[in-house]
């Protein structure tokens, strides 16, 4: 009997721990939503900051983050997908692939501030792009590269080999097989990876600190060599170093909420895609 008492106690503790983790998440989300929801209105989303960033909206930061998402995806997505195609379809299973995989994993493990240093040294200073959307996009693009590669690899691996051999048996070349059979089938899952990467990029602060982010810049960017404001950096700035922290708090809550909503939407979108297309492949 006593061994079951021990088991019961242990299992209740585990359930409690599970609850605590969910509780922490709800606490954070709830806190931001509760305090931020009142701030969000049309003006907040469409106007530039005013009054030393204690009033107005966050429109330039939203535009800036969109620019960075677009730019970094242009940098990372094509090359990431190509790299994944190489490792899953061409490279076999030898030393080279294992080496590449270790490198990809290690790149994924490098802290984001290092990417900031690297981006500043290479793109901003050495290549002379200055603080610009271009430099920021490349920095963020390299940061999410491992994520793009890994999700694409998984998407490609999920396609059964029978489709490949079938296509090859019909006389298609390897490239044709990849283009006409493998990629279309893996497409939804690759898009899922893209969405997750967008979620990641939109929240990163450290890599853009020294490569693109502007403290305050009410006008919108006109080219890829312009600086922009960005949501995460804006939140950092108004939470820590504004002229009047207390009166900037509502703006900070609003900005945090917008950031969280972006991440939430991306996560939900990804899981919907995964579920929907995951079923579809199975029934085929």
């Amino acid at each position: 009997m006593s061994k079951h008492t021990g088991q019961n106690i242990a299992f209740w503790i585990f359930r409690l721990l599970g609850l605590i983790v969910v509780g922490i998440l709800l606490w954070i989300l709830g806190f931001i939503i509760w305090n931020g929801i009142g701030v969000i209105d049309w003006e907040f989303l469409t106007e530039a900051p005013t009054d030393g960033m204690t009033g107005g909206g966050i429109f330039p930061a939203i535009v800036g983050t969109c620019c960075l998402i677009l730019g970094s995806m242009i940098v990372a997505f094509p090359i990431g997908v190509m790299s994944a195609i190489y490792t899953t379809e061409y490279a076999g299973n030898g030393r080279v692939v294992r080496f590449i995989r270790i490198m990809t994993d290690n790149l994924g493990g490098i802290p984001s501030i290092i990417f900031g240093l690297f981006g500043m040294s290479l793109f901003v200073n050495t290549l002379g792009w200055g603080d610009s959307i271009l430099a920021g996009s490349f920095t963020l693009g390299l940061l999410v590269l491992p994520l793009v590669i890994r999700t694409t690899e998984e998407a490609l691996k999920a396609i059964p080999d029978s489709f490949r051999t079938g296509s090859l048996a019909l006389g298609a070349t390897k490239l044709q097989t990849i283009r006409r059979v493998v990629l279309p089938m893996a497409f939804p899952n690759i898009v899922t990876g893209l969405i997750l990467s967008i979620g990641r990029v939109s929240g990163e602060t450290a890599p853009i600190l020294f490569t693109v982010a502007a403290y305050f810049l009410p006008k919108l960017p006109t080219g890829i060599f312009d600086q922009v404001m960005a949501l995460p950096y804006h939140l950092y700035v108004i939470a820590t170093s504004g002229t009047d922290l207390e009166s900037a708090r509502p703006i900070a809550y609003g900005t945090a909420l917008v950031l969280i909503v972006i991440v939430l939407i991306m996560n939900i979108l990804a899981s919907i895609l995964r579920r929907y297309f995951g079923k579809k492949v199975k029934t085929n």
Binding site: L25, I28, I79, A91
Partner: protein, 404 residues
């Protein structure tokens, strides 16, 4: 036509092969640029750029470390005997002091201060205990009675062994990384102590106890926890945890290493849970069933069979969690108070390597010693995370081998 297609095929294959190397090339570039900028630090003079230190020619001391220079100018060292010289009181002389000793006319003010170097030379030559901090353009031309201290470079010893990080100190900026390194390890390790029981418990719950429905609820919650941007964690920490910690422990400020550890613990949870759960799920069915068949309860099976079996996976989870915590920047920057002191208690402000880089790189002029020192910090961080990743890789490989 067929030939054309074959050429296209070859070209495509070549491009794909090239793109396969992209992560490797990126890592190489990161290493090259980080170390190129960082190693420049050890070629930087210990004294602020454009300045030099002069002493009287009779003074036997000819080299000073950055830390000694700082102590001299802080009046912490007041006699040359403490530095291995003669028993002579140290007399500080800053460049501006010359204007209180001589009038503008005497210095040749109308003539671009043409006489200034000579007068400086006279001052230094006339006082045996003097140490003068002078701009290079006004250095005494006639070195009779004056000796320039040999221009020392910042050494690896100063950098790795130094206990003070004061990059803006004059005349000798202090780039001692010890407090930053210890601060980083300190917050991260305490964070893991907080996160480990929680994360391990949840991993056991997810892999052994939860039914499909609970899993469907918990898994996305953990993914979301991993997806929340670090700056939002930092903001949450700043407005919620900082006042909470301050009140709960009756502290003068709530921005402490402990606050940082709590935030880092939350942020490391998803990593720990996911990796540990994977490891436990990989326990072969036969082992569980054998244990249960021998009459063990489910709980006994968990802690006598499954957890020991997944030991290396769990260790990998811990290592990866530490790695996640060590590299985290924004959240730590916002809640730890950023005082560059060697941590002695849980509840004192401290400062980590990533936070230092983030806070100071913006104001360090490119190419200067401060800039290089921050890149050198980046190199340290890079090497630490590299070691951590390789360790985690090696540990989890052991698990796979055992599984076969």
């Amino acid at each position: 036509m067929k030939r054309f297609r074959r050429i296209v095929e070859k070209i495509a294959e070549g491009m794909l092969t090239l793109s396969g190397a992209v992560t490797t090339v990126t890592i190489l570039l990161i290493v090259v640029f980080l170390f190129r900028e960082g190693l420049g630090l050890f070629k930087s003079p210990a004294v602020e750029k454009g300045y030099a230190l002069c002493v009287n020619v009779a003074n036997p001391v000819d080299r000073l470390t950055p830390f000694q220079i700082k102590q001299i100018f802080d009046y912490a060292i007041v006699n040359w005997a403490e530095l291995g010289g003669k028993d002579e009181a140290i007399e500080l002389f800053r460049f501006d002091d010359i204007f209180s000793r001589y009038s503008d006319e005497e210095l040749g003010a109308e003539n671009d201060y043409a006489l200034l170097p000579d007068k400086l030379g006279e001052v230094v030559a006339s006082s045996p205990g003097i140490i003068a901090f002078l701009p290079e353009e006004y250095l005494p031309r006639d070195l009779k009675g004056v000796r320039m201290l040999r221009s020392e470079h910042i050494t690896a010893g100063d950098f790795f062994g130094g206990r003070e990080w004061i990059p803006t100190a004059t005349p000798a900026p202090q780039f001692g990384t010890l407090p930053l390194l210890l601060g980083t390890l300190w917050v991260s390790i305490i964070a893991i102590f907080i996160a480990l029981p929680l994360g391990l418990g949840v991993a056991i719950y997810l892999s052994e106890l939860a039914n499909e429905q609970t899993r469907k609820l918990l898994k996305p919650a953990i993914e979301l926890l991993a997806g929340i941007p670090s700056v939002v964690y930092g903001f949450f920490g700043l407005v919620v945890l900082v006042p909470l910690v301050q009140k709960a422990f009756g502290l003068p400020v709530g921005e402490t290493g402990f606050t940082g550890s709590v935030i880092l613990a939350i942020m490391a949870l998803p990593t720990i849970i996911t990796v540990a759960e994977d490891a436990m799920r990989n326990t072969p069915r036969a082992m569980r069933e054998a244990s249960l068949a021998l009459g063990a309860t489910h709980w006994q099976t968990i802690y006598r069979v499954i957890v020991p079996y997944a030991k290396s996976g769990i260790s990998a989870a811990v290592v990866l969690g530490i790695g996640r915590a060590i590299g985290e920047t924004m959240a730590v920057l916002m809640v730890t108070g950023n005082a560059a002191v060697i941590p002695k208690t849980l509840f004192a402000p401290l400062r980590t390597i990533p936070a230092t880089i983030a806070a100071e790189l913006g104001e360090a002029p490119a190419g200067g010693a401060h800039y290089q020192a921050l890149f050198m910090l980046g190199c340290i961080l890079f090497l630490i995370t590299l070691v951590i990743n390789i360790t985690a890789e090696a540990i989890s490989k052991r698990q796979h081998n055992k599984g076969l």
